[in-house]
Symmetry: D2
Amino acid sequence: MVERTLMYGNHALVEGVIHAGCRFFAGYPITPQNEIPEYMSIRMNEVGGVFLQTESEIAAINMLFGAASAGVRAMTSSSSPGISLMQEGLSYIAGADVPVLVVNVVRGGPGLGNIAPAQSDYFQAVKSGGHGDYHTIVLAPYSVQELFEFPKIAFELGEKYRNPALILADGLLGQMMEPVEIKGEPVDPKSLPEQDWWLTGAKGRGRRVIRSYDLRPGKLEEWNWKRWEKYQKIIKTEQRYEEIKVDDAEIIIVAYGTSARVAEAGLRLCRDKGIKVGLIRPITLWPFPSEIIGELSKKIENFLVVEMSLGQMIEDVKLAVEGRSKIHFIGHPGGGIPNAKEVYDKVLEIRSKK
Amino acid sequence: MVERTLMYGNHALVEGVIHAGCRFFAGYPITPQNEIPEYMSIRMNEVGGVFLQTESEIAAINMLFGAASAGVRAMTSSSSPGISLMQEGLSYIAGADVPVLVVNVVRGGPGLGNIAPAQSDYFQAVKSGGHGDYHTIVLAPYSVQELFEFPKIAFELGEKYRNPALILADGLLGQMMEPVEIKGEPVDPKSLPEQDWWLTGAKGRGRRVIRSYDLRPGKLEEWNWKRWEKYQKIIKTEQRYEEIKVDDAEIIIVAYGTSARVAEAGLRLCRDKGIKVGLIRPITLWPFPSEIIGELSKKIENFLVVEMSLGQMIEDVKLAVEGRSKIHFIGHPGGGIPNAKEVYDKVLEIRSKK
Amino acid sequence: MVERTLMYGNHALVEGVIHAGCRFFAGYPITPQNEIPEYMSIRMNEVGGVFLQTESEIAAINMLFGAASAGVRAMTSSSSPGISLMQEGLSYIAGADVPVLVVNVVRGGPGLGNIAPAQSDYFQAVKSGGHGDYHTIVLAPYSVQELFEFPKIAFELGEKYRNPALILADGLLGQMMEPVEIKGEPVDPKSLPEQDWWLTGAKGRGRRVIRSYDLRPGKLEEWNWKRWEKYQKIIKTEQRYEEIKVDDAEIIIVAYGTSARVAEAGLRLCRDKGIKVGLIRPITLWPFPSEIIGELSKKIENFLVVEMSLGQMIEDVKLAVEGRSKIHFIGHPGGGIPNAKEVYDKVLEIRSKK
Amino acid sequence: MVERTLMYGNHALVEGVIHAGCRFFAGYPITPQNEIPEYMSIRMNEVGGVFLQTESEIAAINMLFGAASAGVRAMTSSSSPGISLMQEGLSYIAGADVPVLVVNVVRGGPGLGNIAPAQSDYFQAVKSGGHGDYHTIVLAPYSVQELFEFPKIAFELGEKYRNPALILADGLLGQMMEPVEIKGEPVDPKSLPEQDWWLTGAKGRGRRVIRSYDLRPGKLEEWNWKRWEKYQKIIKTEQRYEEIKVDDAEIIIVAYGTSARVAEAGLRLCRDKGIKVGLIRPITLWPFPSEIIGELSKKIENFLVVEMSLGQMIEDVKLAVEGRSKIHFIGHPGGGIPNAKEVYDKVLEIRSKK
């Protein structure tokens, strides 16, 4: 089945979530993502799922913990301050190895900030804003199509590795209208194979326990090292990115989400003038596509990071290039959005310094 | 005045806080740091300060926001999960440029974890676990003496830059008994010069406003860039660390807090055998002492990071050495503690590979 | 359909709730009523209803408000301290004329008290523990059969008058095992006729609003007087009670719930000795059966109130007899339970004074 | 010292609280009583007391519990919905026999209602809106002078009996400006004699425990009976009221607070016409002045209750007259206020029926 239809980003995300077989949503309202819970409340009702407006973001993330522990694909969405309130819960979920989906429609920060699109929650997302050693799988959509497709990928990766997943989006994508291709049959939640950790009632089998603590000496360290192995496997296997015009490029832009859209437009301006610019668009922010960037850094002298923040992903790019290349930066914090001309100008500037 | 006395780490911290003129404590109990609020409740009462056991960690961090906005040196303490709950509040405080002191007595994580000492909240501390572009000044004491001294430094740095500060400690330090030298007169809160942003009542002057939001187009971006300049200044000016036997070293260990104590013992084992090992002990984790490490990396081939986590500071060391040196690692997550012999063995192993 | 089966009181209540077509339960755990949510979580799942363990009792009562506003039969259960936390919410619900069912399994109070059965929340139940002029319909079951039957009555009365209803029970009833007759077909929630105030989505009709405030001058007073008329109608029409051996009685006992069971046993001891004792067992505590008691007071000189409290219902009996009769009292506060011999002895004492 | 000054009711209350030696205020804002915390925040600061804006009303009442347990005169103020949220805490405080002062500036209810003055929280105040058998001493000021004086009385009665006290006021009184006589020296908190239950630190003495639970069989019942004895003593000793023109009256009005002001004006209209009307103004609502009303009912045929509610105090008047007299009623629920003419007309109507 392939269906093509025009959708708002926020609606596409909701449809993608339902399509992925998610039947539990809990959340608390915050601008600029209120279209998600609003539309979700209608859709969940139609498909017999649970939509819950909770007392707070803390209630929401903990209800996700419970729902997902019972074997339900469960999600919440919020925006920056709300996601900060979920950091304790996220750490518990990660420490209990439970897959859930959290969507952060990032707004300008820090603090109350504003409600313009931003990418300044990058560190929180990829370096574990909660306490303890853990990682969340982070996906960064850059089109309405990807808003539709990534929930399914997030649930599948989350379940494959028993790990929470986060979709890092911004308000611009959510308000955008683009054609979406709906491929594949929607997931029937009942068709999902029961996992050996689901808390479905112990009748006829031994009891199962989901928890994030272990007070027995040495046991928590052991457990964490096992989780570390899982993280290594994810890092090795799941780096996702898109390459655009990388083959002959002399300068490589690294950008994700809305910044990648702008970067791509900037790239086209450059290419129109015969300037060979390429783009690496990370799709997973964790694991970060270090391998391809590290590889490219062996021949590329200049990387340009474009980010709607003071520069956070820049660190991951630096870690990947290990001193082999120069890293340049275009940044817009606090809800500012870069534009194509700015990218073009920056490329010219980089070239002139050579 | 110099007074020498034997103290428990947790008590030394409280005395240091009072000595620094702090007169407002708000917090919610959590193991393994309950000696801090318990002793604080007695001491604050004695010095006419406010001790407040709040309803939750969220209440605590927001009360700090209020108290500090009124020109009071204010602090809270908690342990990992409690600190996660404070991430939203911390982002608000950072976004409003208000100096407060947060103490995290890190325990094994993620989630509930256990109550053993750990260093696995490093990322949360130095990469801003809350949302938005901000930084917290992070100090890492490694002795009872420093537990006494760092609160004053934290308040002074915080006020100098109008920035929140965090002391990253662990349960081991708190339970340790060591001699403490009390140098200098205690700070009289009334002697602190009134700042032009203190909310002290507008009688006879124009009103002042403290907030973290700005909805006017472009203003939040502007504000964030100004804060970025502040961060650059801090990074340039405030990197603090201790060098131990670095001059002739062929291998450099990088470790902080309890891990640095162990590393130092390991260093002595090495030196006893004539192996030239040095130690860089970061005192500020943000700003990270990248400069000295970067400088050293020009001649040192091997660095060894020792950390009570799966390896988080390792990234900051990598960012400093920019591919020039190899980085080795000893890690104990989930409450495990390294020992001197382990460090010694690792050093031997590194040397054997040359 | 008549089915006869042996059930625990708490399970009978749950079955009665489901049988009554209730499909929404929200609550927070508290002893001694945890068997209710536990069993409810299983049964709601089986019948496709919603079971929600909320963050707090405050969340629970407010979720009831929402669910019932959408036309769902909705209930919560708790015990004394938890019911106190719901008083604000209950006042809002009563002020918005929304029918919900609250079950209070009363424990010894005040404060934390203990977990023994009690009746000391009588005033809270019948005199409106929340703020403002309102009344809650209060039913007092005294057998497992009534625990099964009263939820349906509570929903029907609640809907008839658009008024919240409360079942006042105690832990003893809940733990008791008795035969239950299941009469009548279970209510199919879909068969309930849509009310003109249900918030079901305004498509194709004008919008409806449910609220408890009216700031327009004089409007709230008007609204309250209308509600007063409703209360008068309930008082006139819905007084329910059971008469036991009242016809020839010279002394009348007034007791409800577990106290009525004890009183009935005491009555039998008296009757065995030829002492003509009768029992009025209030089934509705609000509206209180004042009419029958007032009528009886014209010929009965002595009433004996038996209550597991310091004496609260005694006031309603006094209000009914209007000075015409003497009122005696057996009371056991704080979880104490009266016994039949005590009732018998008290009756002898009353007779001896004549 | 006698000082005469013109004050707003809300300010007079705050001054009275400070004058009474109270040095701890915790509360959460709600209209129409926000002048109290606002002015309190200034005054507490001036006298070295604690002013705390808490996270919620629930936090406030529980902080009062703590502060008062430590031997501090502690108070909170709120309005109807906020007071409902405090019912659980109040029950805990009453169950632990701790004196605190709660001020309820009653607004129109139920639910959100409106912000006009009301008296519809009478039942909640006098019949214990929380769970369990307990009573709160309730004082009803009817002038700015009494707003100033009653806090001291409330603290003294509360401490005498180890019992919480409540001042039931309304917005009209708070906004009124009247001359206040400040008599007597302000209470120095340090001069208050230490009680044997204050939790002041156990150094040099055995430990003390304050709690509201007792799980040992029979102990809670015993405790509650002891508290009952206290209540009987209060009922016997502390009924307070003002008699106005009662001696030769043929009709007696019963009214408190703002209603009593209106009733008094109505009484004057009647007296001007030679109609002998008297007024009993309850000052304590619990204990209710039943004795004087009971006594009067032996010769007075008609009582008129004037209340800003649907009629709640009417029950207490009925309980006092025990069927001997007729009780008439003027009621204004939902923020309506009676007027003198209405009272006059009602008196005429009552007389015409004779």
